[in-house]
Symmetry: C2
Subunit: 242 residues, 2 copies
DNA sequence: TCCCGACCATTGGTAGCACCTTTCAGTGAG
DNA sequence: CTCACTGAAAGGTGCTACCAATGGTCGGGA
C-alpha cells in the first residue's frame, strides 16, 4: 500500500523508528524478559512490511535485546545479555526510567578510564592538542566563573573528548559519546551547582597543564581527583528516597 | 531456486556467514576506508538473495563499519566510526592482522577497569562469590606451580570474570568477554611464560583475599599491581610506530 | 564557464510465496 | 497411567518481483 512516513515526520528510515520504539520498550522494562513477539505483531503494530520488521528484529538481536527462533518467535532477553556499550542501548537507557542508575554506572566507568586516558594523552598528544587543552581550560574558567552553565558544559565535553582522542587508544576514544552523554545528562538532571565549584575549575586547569607538559603521572592523579569531585557531585542521585 | 545452505554446512543463518566474511575483510583492512560495495555485488559474490544481502548490510551499518546511501551504494567507513566494543568487531580484530594492537589496547582497558572492579567487588560481592574467589586462587596456585598452563588460564578467566560480575556495575560486567578474549589470546600468542611467575600467583591470591575480606582499597592496589605485571608480560609485542 | 534540468543507478520499502524447523497436541500401545 | 510416535500448525528463513524515492552524473543552454 506504500504508506509513506507514518507521521513521525522525520527523515529517519522506517526500520530506525521501529527499532527505537521497541528498543526503548525493552530497555525501559515495558517488555520484560521472556516476553514474546512475532514478526506479524511488529508488522501490524507499526504498519510496516515484513522486510522492515525483519531488519528491525535483526538489529535488536545484534544488540542482544532479543533472540529469534523458529516457531517460537522473538523473545526478549534478560538485561545481562544486552550489549550495554552499544550507543543506542546507552541512549535508550538514558532516556528511560533507568536513567539514574545508568548515569551512575557510566560515571564509575569514567572514573576507571579517564585517568588512564589522561595519562596516555600526556604521552601521545600532538602539540596542537596540548595547546587546545590549555585554551579550553582557560575558557572554562571564564564561563564557569561567570556562571554560564551551558557553554561551560560544552567546553567540558570538548575537553574530555579531546583527552580521550589524544590517548591514542581506540577503546578509550570510543567512549567519547558515553562521556558526552554523561556530562549532558548530568547538567540536564540539575546535578550541577549553579556555578561550577572553584575546585573543578582548578582541577580542569591542572589536568590541561599536566597533560600539556607531558607529566603523565600528574595528569593521571589530577584527573582522578577531578573525577572524585564529579562522583561526590553525583551523590545526591542516590537518596531518591524522599 | 531456493538454494539451501551454500556449503558452509553450519547451522548458522545465512546472513551470519556473509556478515562474518565482510566484517573480517573490513576490520582486517582488505576493504579499505572509502571502498564501495553494492547489494548486487554482495548477492552475487555470496550467492544470496537481496533480503540476506540487505540484512547483512544493516548489521554492518549498525556496527559503524559501513554506511548505505541511495544511488551511491555501501561505503566502508574509517575505523574511527567502528563500534569497537561490539563483540563481533572485537572478535574480527583479534582474528585479523591487527591482533597485536587490539590486544594491547584491550589490555590498557583492563588496566583501567579491573582495579575499580575489584574494589567494587570487595564491597558488593556475595559470600558465595568471596568463597569462590579464594578457592580459585588456591587452584590457580596448584596448576600454576605444576606448569599446567591451560587449566591455569581457564581459572584465570573465571576469576576475572567473577570479579567483573561481582562488581555490580553492568558496564564492567559487560567486559567479561573482552577480558576472556585477552586472556585466551595472550596464551595463544605465547606471551605467557612456561610457568606462571610466582608473583602472579601471589598477586592473584592477594586480590582474592582482599576482596574476600572486603578491603576494597587493598583489592584495588593488588589488582593494579597484578595488571602492571600483565602489562610487562605483554611488552614483547612491539608497539607499532604511528 | 557555470548553472540547471533530465536521466538513471542504487537503496528503501512492499507483497507474496515456498520451505524448514520446532513445538505441541493427539493417539495408540504397553 | 505413562510414554513414545506422529502429524499438523506456527512462525522464522529465504527467495523473487516490483515500485518509490533519491541523489550523483552528465549534457545542454545561457
Amino acid at each position: 500500500m506504500g504508506r509513506q512516513r507514518a507521521g513521525n515526520g522525520g527523515t529517519e528510515s522506517l526500520h530506525h523508528s521501529v527499532l527505537d520504539a521497541i528498543g526503548l520498550e525493552i530497555t525501559g522494562g515495558v517488555l520484560p524478559e521472556g516476553h514474546g513477539l512475532t514478526l506479524d505483531v511488529i508488522q501490524e503494530r507499526f504498519g510496516v512490511s515484513r522486510t522492515v520488521a525483519r531488519e528491525t528484529m535483526r538489529l535488536l538481536e545484534s544488540m542482544g535485546l532479543v533472540v529469534s527462533r523458529r516457531r517460537v518467535g522473538i523473545t526478549v532477553q534478560p538485561s545481562s545479555s544486552w550489549h550495554v556499550y552499544d550507543p543506542r542501548v546507552i541512549w535508550w537507557r538514558l532516556a528511560g526510567p533507568g536513567r539514574d542508575s545508568q548515569l551512575r554506572s557510566l560515571t564509575e566507568l569514567r572514573i576507571a578510564v579517564e585517568p588512564l586516558a589522561a595519562s596516555a594523552a600526556a604521552r601521545y598528544a600532538t602539540p596542537a592538542q596540548r595547546e587546545r587543552l590549555l585554551a579550553l581550560a582557560a575558557e572554562m574558567r571564564a564561563h564557569g566563573e561567570a556562571g554560564r552553565l551551558e557553554p561551560f558544559m560544552e567546553l567540558d565535553v570538548e575537553m574530555h573528548s579531546l583527552l580521550l582522542r589524544a590517548s591514542g587508544n581506540e577503546m578509550f576514544t570510543a567512549l567519547t559519546d558515553v562521556v558526552t552523554s554523561v556530562l549532558r545528562g548530568r547538567t540536564q538532571l540539575g546535578l550541577m551547582p549553579h556555578r561550577p565549584v572553584p575546585e573543578a575549575l582548578d582541577l580542569h586547569e591542572e589536568v590541561a597543564r599536566t597533560v600539556a607538559d607531558g607529566d603523565h603521572a600528574a595528569a593521571e592523579t589530577a584527573m582522578r581527583r577531578l573525577l572524585a569531585e564529579v562522583r561526590d557531585a553525583m551523590a545526591p542521585i542516590r537518596p531518591r528516597r524522599v
